[in-house]
Structure formats: structure tokens, C-alpha cells
Amino acid sequence: MSILDVNKLGVIYKPAGQHVQALEDVSFSLTAGETLGIIGESGSGKTTLALALMGLLGKKEQLEGKVVYAGAELLSLEESRRHTYRWKHIAMVFQNSLEVLNPVLNVGEQVAEPLARHLDLKGRELEARVEELLYLVGLERSWKTAYPHQLSGGMRQRVLLAMALSCRPELLLVDEPTTSLDPIARREIVELLESLQREYGFSLVLISHDLACISRLTRRLLVLYGGRIVEAGLTEEIVEDPLHPYTRGLINASPNYFAFRDLWGIPGEPAGGGAAGCAFASRCVQSQEGCHAETPALQHLSPSRQVACRRGGIMTMLAASGLCKEYHLKKRTLKAVNGIDLEVKHGEVLGLVGETGSGKSTVAQILGRMVKPSAGQIIFQGKPFNGELTRREKGIQLVMQDPFASTSHRFTVEQTLREPLEINKVGGREERQERVLETLTRVQLPADDKFLNRYCFELSGGQRQRLAIARALVMKPALLLADEITSMLDPSTQANLMRLLKGLQNEEGFAMLFITHDLDLARKIADRIMVMQYGAVVEQGSSHRIFTQPCCCHTKDLLAAAFGHSH
């Protein structure tokens, strides 16, 4: 039984004749006692949604669609009727700041105000209820007489919470309860919200940047971007396996969710709503022309998941199944890769980890077309896997472990970078030159004639590996296979190179298969992890899950060996 039905809700702000579509076509429903999280970057319409549900919009703003609360359509109600729903049925905890509290009222008066107005409580009764509420949110009685400016952020949050809970609402909207709080206060607030929700059983809509808080407090999740819902589903599933590129970008940008990984934001500026086409298209790694023209509708990809993407969510770039590689030695057959299935998605970094000899490099060599698999099927972007893939742009490029072997010491820097372009006759003379210079700059190597004419043997290991990466990037790959590319470098060069590569990956959105035996490195860079042993995949999953809750014994062993403690 749903208590809240939001149907095609749209909000248009009209500041000074402009037309800003803050929310568009937002539909969802909420049953009693259910918890719903809403995430999105600043400006994605989260707070607007909360204000619209509270009925605090509609005077200057143009509203569309319907919000049905317990059978009553709220948007078309007159202000006086609407007023009755506020606080009593739907209450909101505003984003924490000094401004949301009245500076001339003390805490007691502040909390008493909605009680007096909506429940007509007076005198003793009012006093008692105020004290009860303060006790409920964990504030000592002595703070009753304090003024807002005398409170800490955490206390202010508790006062706001007490106010919102004062009339025992059935639906509580909480806007960013934990931002600007220190870790201890944050934990206390989250625990408080959790226990209050359990105790009173109100429905909760939690708006937050804080993924840790969201995943702890909510069962379902909406991802907003440019005023539209781009993904909806169960919180746990979305966080483990996001299906919309934007959701993945948000999760990757959240330090409080998985602290070990390097932080990378979504490149580009958030787009406003209202424009034609998918709002995320300009920042999306897999956008096509059609994405800019046609607005995608929210579609079910599975019973519990909805995604608004023309291309059906994050696409699979490369899918391999039953991959085998056998080497016939004199007396026995060595199965270097023994029937593995593998999937690399658009724009993700897949970390392939495992001991030496577990078959990681063989996988890279098969995918880089250096060795032929004995068995198995590989499909790249829906097309069969053939030799042309390494020879064209938007294909597959391999960077090998040893830069001293993978680049000819007889070639100059320029010759090395031009080689793939020249063999495959990509572009004209000038275009090639331009691309060589551009790529050199991108990998932070000098792009002058002096450097172009240097021989490879004159370069240091780090420079030469960067050159090898540049050679791969000059072909503008869609999938980069990086096979232990930093294992021969010193830590500082490694750090520089990894930051560089991850930055390029983030910016250009190519997918990367990152092969390493260095778990620290994998933890820093990978979105998903595959663990290999004896030529088979023993475990795979999001980097966050593998590193915090490994299932397979071998993964546990690896982690224990690498990080010195068992999980």
C-alpha cells in the first residue's frame, strides 16, 4: 500500500523570464515505512524534489504532474489545505545551516513552534513534549535555552530532527543530514535516524551525497541527474553494480563509500534539465549522436531495476566466454587459461589480479591478439573479435610489461609513435604529426623536435613506458589492456604513471583491463576486480566488495598476504 505516489512531477523555475527545468518527468511511489535514498550531484534537483513534496513550491514555480499522498493530490490543493499536511503528515529536515533556524528563538521555542501550531499543544503538555523530543534526538535538557548560534553542527541537526519529528509525521524528508558534520557526529546522526525510523516506522526519503549513509539507511535508491531519474532500484544492487554511467561516476567519486580507491570526479559540468536528449550525453563515455536528440525513458532492465539510457545502461564492451589457452609441452599440457568468462564494460577499469602464473598475462595476450586462444569466444562491441581490432581507432590496444622490449631501441620517439599510424595509414601526414605531438603532451612527455628525435634507448624506464602508453593512445583505443605496466618502475614513477593513466582514462572514458599482482595498486585504481588462480577466475565483483568482503578462500589468502591481516 503506497502512501506516496509521484507521477510525472515537473518543476520549472522562472527567474527573470528564464525557463529552468529543475525537475522533469519524475515518478516513483513509496509504501508506508519504506526508505528511499536520492543521490545526485549538486543541481540535479534533489532538494527541489523535497520542496515540491513538502508543497513549498508553486507560487513562482510552475509545477506539472501529480503528487498523491494518501489519496489526496497535493499539488492542486489550496495553500490552506496543503498546510494541514505539512509537518503533521509530511515533515522535512532541512539541510543543516545556521539560517534554517530562527536566530531569535532558543531551542525550546524552536521545537515548540510546530507543536503549538499544528497540534495546538499548550503549557505543561507542550513543555513535556518538547523535552521528550529533545531526549529522543539525544539532546540534553540544558540545551533547551540555548540559541542556534551557540550550537554545534551536530546539535543543530538534532534540533532540526526534533522539529521534524514533533508532529509524528508518516513521511520524513531528510535533506543532507550528514554534510558538514565530523565523523563522530555523522555516525551518531545516522544511528539516530536508523533507530528513530525503526521505532516510529515512518517512511523516509533521504537526500544525500553520502553513499555510506544512503546505503546504510535506505532500501531503495533513485539517482537524479539534470532533474530526471536516470536509475532506480534497490540500493544494495545499485551500489554493487551500477547500470547507468552517471551512477557509476557518482559511486567512483565517493570517498566515504570505499576509502582506498583514488578519487575521480565525473569530468565535465553538470547539465541543466529541459534540453532535448539525454542530459548526461555530453559527459557520458558511451554516448552516440542519437543520445543528444532523444530523451531516454526510464525502462526496466530487471524486475528491480530501472535505467534511463538509450543504450540500455552501461554497455558491455568486450565479452569473452570459455576462454582457454593450452601450451603443449613435451610430456604434458599446460592449461595457462582454463575456460574463463570475462566482461569489460564501457569506461570501467577492470582489475585482473592473481599470483604469478595464474594466467593473467595470457588473458591480456589473448585479448591483445598476441596469442590465439585454444578455445573460447570473444565478442567486442557486438562484433566478432578479429585482427582488425588492434589496427583501427576505437579498438583494442595493449601495453606490455617491459617498455624496453615493447619499443625498439633503434627507433626515435617519433618513429615509435608514428608506427601504428603509418602501418594502418591513419590520417594524412600533418594529422599524424599533430596526433603524435598531442599524445606526447597528454602523457606528459615533452613535445618538441629535440625529444621527437631522441632514440628510445636514451629514455629512462618511466619515459619509455609512457611512450609505450602514448603509442597505444595514439590509436584512440576503446579498450586498453595494461599488463603489469608499472612492475618495472620505481614507486614514484609508478605513482606518476598510474595517476596519469587513470586521469586519461577518466577523461577520455576508455575501458581498461588492468593486470597486476600488486593488490594495493588494484585497490587504488580498479572499479571491478577479477581474481584468477590456476588459469580460472575464482571470484569477481566490485572492487569495494572484493576488498572488504571477499568470499573465496584464495582471495582471502591474497588479501591477507598483501595487507597483512585477514578479512
Partner: protein, 283 residues
């Protein structure tokens, strides 16, 4: 452009290399300009026999009174043609066979390698004697016979190198990028092979010159083209030459020029190897 390259190579040569190059150039000059720097006929008697060096005969005369300086100048032509001809023929042939064997692998390689084994076990000189006798001893035939017996050495070296290079990452990468066999051979393999091939060819040239002298000594040389070997042969045929002072010019000067030529080739070869490999050149 060409001159620039020459001067660049000159600058990168060591003192020994420069000496070798100068000697080689002088010997080539002697061969090419033989009619202009000699004043006596090289094939008929032009003075008293066995005349010591001096006067009209710069290096003296042989037992028939033929001027030795003229003989040596014209003989340089024969020796150089034999040396260079054999080296080029055997070097290129061997390089092609070696590259083919190493690059293709499989049964092609096995067949070619067995062939090389056969060439190695075959006793050079007796077979050469038979072949030279069979084909008739013209200069061209001698070059062909010498080349036939020398290609196996460069072929083996080249094959070994190709086998090692084939596994190099950058060659695999070039192949992944779609580089064809010819591209890989000319762009990647050949530059790597040239230095060892050059050394091998210079050794072959030296060997060919000495072998030609040996064949001439056995009377299998081209009698119409007087090589340095043939002069030595004639001198040694003069019974009891060491009891006379004649060896001091008749035997000594052809030997000296032969030695100079081979030493010059060796010195130059060593330096060229260094230059051909940019790692050694710059480091």
C-alpha cells in the same frame, strides 16, 4: 647529403677505423687507377728479371722481368672483385636464407638448417678444387664457387638473430598493428641484422681473398687474371726462393698488400658494427 653522411661516419670512426678506411680506399684507388699509376706493362716482360726495387721498377721485377708494381696494382682489381663479389653474394644469399628460415620457422627452417649443416661438414677445399676444375677457372666461376661455400656462415648468424628478434615485444607489437612480413623484415629486422651481417661479410671478403690466393696457388685460379695469390704462387714456385734475396720483394710485396687489405677490412668492420648500432654509437 651523401657527403654529409660520409663525413658523419668519418667522425664516428676510431683512429684504427680511419686507418683501415684510408688503406682500403688507397687499395681501391690503386685497383681503379691502375693504368694511370703504373708505367710498365703488367703482363709482359719490361726489363731484366729479378731486379730489386728501385729505378724504373718501383718494386722490382719477377723472374720473367715483369714489373711487380704493375702486377700488384692490376692484381688488386682481381683480389677486390673476388673479395667483394663473394662477400656480397654469400652475405646477401646467406641473409635471405637465414631470415627466411628464422622468420618462417617450421619445416622450411628444418630443411634449410640441414642444408647448412651439410655445407658445414663438407670439406671446403677438395670440393672447391673439383668444382673449380669442373666449371673451369674463370673469375666469375671462382666467385660463385667461393660464395657457394661461404653463405652458410652468415645464414646461421642471421637465423639465430632473427629467432631472438622475433620474440621481441616491439616486433610483436608491430605485427599486432598489422605490419606485414616485408614491413617487419625491412623496418625492424634488417636494421638489427646489418651490423652483424657487415662484420660477417667483411670476414667473408677477407676469407675469399685468401682462399682465392690458395686456389691460385693450386693452379686453379684464373691464369689470365693475375691476382696477388697467383704472384705469390709464382714466387713460391721459384725453387729455393728463401735462399735468394728475391723473396724480399717478389714474395714480400704481394704478401704485404694482401695483409694490408685484410687488416683494413677487419679494422673497418669493427667500427662499422659499432656505428650501425645506435646504442653503442651514442653510449
Amino acid at each position: 647529403m651523401f657527403l654529409l653522411k660520409i663525413s658523419k661516419i668519418w667522425q664516428e670512426l676510431t683512429a684504427f677505423g680511419r686507418v683501415g678506411l684510408v688503406i682500403l680506399l688507397l687499395l681501391i684507388f690503386m685497383a681503379v687507377a691502375a693504368p694511370y699509376i703504373t708505367w710498365q706493362p703488367h703482363n709482359i716482360s719490361s726489363g731484366p728479371s729479378l731486379k730489386p726495387p728501385g729505378g724504373a721498377h718501383l718494386l722490382g721485377t719477377d723472374e720473367l722481368g715483369v714489373d711487380l708494381w704493375s702486377q700488384i696494382c692490376y692484381g688488386a682489381r682481381v683480389s677486390l672483385i673476388v673479395g667483394l663479389g663473394t662477400a656480397l653474394l654469400a652475405g646477401l644469399g646467406g641473409a635471405i636464407v637465414g631470415t627466411f628460415a628464422g622468420y618462417r620457422g617450421g619445416w622450411t627452417e628444418r630443411v634449410l638448417m640441414r642444408l647448412i649443416d651439410i655445407m658445414i661438414v663438407m670439406p671446403d677445399l677438395p670440393v672447391m678444387v673439383i668444382l673449380a676444375a669442373f666449371f673451369g677457372s674463370s673469375l666469375r666461376n671462382i666467385i660463385i664457387v667461393l660464395a657457394l661455400f661461404s653463405w652458410s656462415h652468415p645464414a646461421r648468424i642471421v637465423r639465430a638473430q632473427v629467432l631472438a628478434l622475433k620474440e621481441q615485444g616491439y616486433i610483436k607489437m608491430a605485427r599486432i598493428y598489422g605490419g606485414g612480413d616485408l614491413y617487419i623484415i625491412f623496418k625492424h629486422l634488417l636494421p638489427e641484422l646489418i651490423p652483424i651481417l657487415a662484420v660477417s661479410m667483411i670476414r667473408l671478403a677477407g676469407m675469399a681473398i685468401v682462399t682465392e690466393a690458395g686456389l691460385s696457388f693450386l693452379g686453379l685460379g684464373d691464369p689470365t687474371s693475375r691476382s696477388w695469390g697467383l704472384i705469390i704462387n709464382h714466387a713460391l714456385n721459384f725453387s729455393g726462393i728463401y735462399f735468394t734475396p728475391f723473396w724480399k720483394w717478389w714474395l714480400f710485396y704481394p704478401w704485404l698488400f694482401l695483409t694490408l687489405l685484410i687488416t683494413a677490412l677487419a679494422l673497418l668492420g669493427r667500427d662499422l658494427e659499432r656505428i650501425a648500432d645506435p646504442r653503442v654509437a651514442k653510449g
